[in-house]
Subunit: 442 residues, 2 copies
Amino acid sequence: MYFSKSFIPILKNNPTEAKIKSHQLMLRVGMIKQSSAGIYSWLPLGFKVMKKIEQIVREEQDRVGVQEILMPTIQSSEIWKESGRYDDYGEEMLRIKDRQNREMLYGPTNEELITEIFRSSIKSYKSLPQLLYHIQWKFRDELRPRFGIMRCREFYMKDAYSFDLSDEDAFFSYNKFFLSYLKTFKRLNLSAIPMAADTGPIGGNLSHEFIILAETGENKIYTDKRIFDVDYTSTILENSSLEKLRRDYEKFYSVTDEKFNKAEFENKVPTEHRVNTKGIEVGHIFYFGDKYSKPMNASVDFNGKKEFVKMGSYGIGVSRLVGAIIEAKYNDKDEIMKWPISVSPYDCAIIPMISKNDSSNLEKSNKILDYLKSKNIDPIIDDTDENISAKIKKFNLIGIPYQLIIGKKTEGELFEFKEVGEQTQKLKIEEIASQINKAKSN
Amino acid sequence: MYFSKSFIPILKNNPTEAKIKSHQLMLRVGMIKQSSAGIYSWLPLGFKVMKKIEQIVREEQDRVGVQEILMPTIQSSEIWKESGRYDDYGEEMLRIKDRQNREMLYGPTNEELITEIFRSSIKSYKSLPQLLYHIQWKFRDELRPRFGIMRCREFYMKDAYSFDLSDEDAFFSYNKFFLSYLKTFKRLNLSAIPMAADTGPIGGNLSHEFIILAETGENKIYTDKRIFDVDYTSTILENSSLEKLRRDYEKFYSVTDEKFNKAEFENKVPTEHRVNTKGIEVGHIFYFGDKYSKPMNASVDFNGKKEFVKMGSYGIGVSRLVGAIIEAKYNDKDEIMKWPISVSPYDCAIIPMISKNDSSNLEKSNKILDYLKSKNIDPIIDDTDENISAKIKKFNLIGIPYQLIIGKKTEGELFEFKEVGEQTQKLKIEEIASQINKAKSN
């Protein structure tokens, strides 16, 4: 791809309306564009990152046996009246009247709709467990949308739902998601810690938020730094292994301010292990038993007896993660962003010095591009006539993790190559390709 | 995947509310479930087909150099007032007031929003052409939604937009999509013919509908059967080659009833070549010059002069194509569906005869599954205890194109294998895998 042909509208300066670094950076490098308050269009750079995150989330759901479906964005109010949440939900729910004057709404979450799908499809306990997810746009009519896509109105979310016969089975399902979330965030190069959380409007009595540390986070968190060393890599998809994992995490005090208790914190966490900082919620899982299945009459036949199914729900903010990764990885003082290679919009930026009457560096770039593509690497060439330092500054912001610079110092077979923010190396193209592919396979 | 574990709620009989075969079949084999009038959830079988169609559409857009973005579903009314379409659009537009009492709407199409994105991002003619697309949910508040996902309210669509400096450049862009659409539908195993069409509420003076023949189609069509023999396979992405392609098609009279003129039809088409039948619109492309760019002031600087950009738009109904393929491929008299392998939910159904005290056929099935997976084939095993003829009948409806039957007649290394609707063969597993993979690579 040529930079000049791609739709990447770069701003010269940080937009004044943006207050946090992810919002600033996403506007500045043309990842998103606001279309109205709290509603954004995703331009190619931002879209590519979001799609890669979505795909990782999808693969990790599939891996624990969750099946993908897709529910619509517009729902009928009727099922929300059945569950009793229609009036509770307040003004954050975008309510709509269609041309026939029917009460509709833009789904802020899908417990009701999935329960309706379940109850009309599954009749016997033999079909349990059922684990279903979808990745779909949601709408919450925030009073004051802010921080770009971090607290917006239309957002992209993965939400999953589990249906089981008993509490024990349901905890097994819950724990599958617990493990799956740890693996998902790890692939995004984020250290997300699970924290006991309030259940809010979703309801239930068991819930964990997955939080990444970031100074600009909206959640205050109190934790024990040993929680970062809990090892889940040997956990397998089996009941006792998963339970052990939950216990390993729950050994350490770790809560957001909603659940904070000073005495308990100081009692349970030795001074040297205390962490009191801020974080961003990137996932939230809930167990709420029959909260929806009972009022909505979602039951299965169990040896002639009617049993309301036990349900949980499991969310990951896919669009929010784009911003969360920036908050975690962007050094705004030096204006250097570095995307994890797993979600970077391109794998490598080829940055040639181009002068008006000499296209030799551009030709070299084209050859490099072809070679890298043959090695399954996705590069972008900056074919503009900006000077080389302006180009490098621009790509430091865009955050593609590798830069290959073709300038005056390029001699023979050796190219200037660097990981963003690191020292320049002089390497052969084969070495460059193998270094990038090594990073991609991690 | 085991059938018993997958979420495929099969109905015993055709649902009485469904009037056309795609609607009947999709409900019957649990591909979709209606959530409210004209609004559907996509269950795993339907979702898989739609995602595969989406991916083919995406690849063919990328191949002609269109860049993917994503615009939101909810738009502000302001840009529609700028273009003048806010009042024109009538009750099909789902109008919404948010909590601040702002006039919003659920986008039925995106000419306004993309023009707004373009005008705030692109300033110079040097950045032209720009070709952008997105695949997103749209809403049209049909008075009488019917025929399942063929004429529903919330639907999934690929819409692309082109921006050029001159009419000539814009025709070049238009023709790129023309070719791209022929290739897209071919990969879906559909014979779609381009027909001169009215432009309706989109506007402009050049437009083609892409129509597939189907008895249940809503469009009457009048065409010359020689149009099916036009060969586009040697056309390349170059102006004169693309123009020749358009001329090759336009040589033949081919219109929908909106444009039908009896005298012209009879004059231009010899009796033996006349085709007068029905069809389904699966794509529609438009050229409308400065219809939006002028009122919305989307211009570029061309050597100091302000030029309004020339625009076109290009739609493919992704969700509708699921139904259109069924209309084209389903034999409802014999109750036999056969998905094109490129979009089939699974590549092969493994159908063992299972009796209560004998699991040997299920064990054989598991081994076959592992082998086929190792050859990049995606099978599903029917592990239920239904009798074998009921299973085969069910899979004839589901429409996975290949069935591998493990019953009484299975001896030694030879398996009963058939393409749906064809004769059974006795083949070794290696031959079966290579036959399926040959079909997949076509």
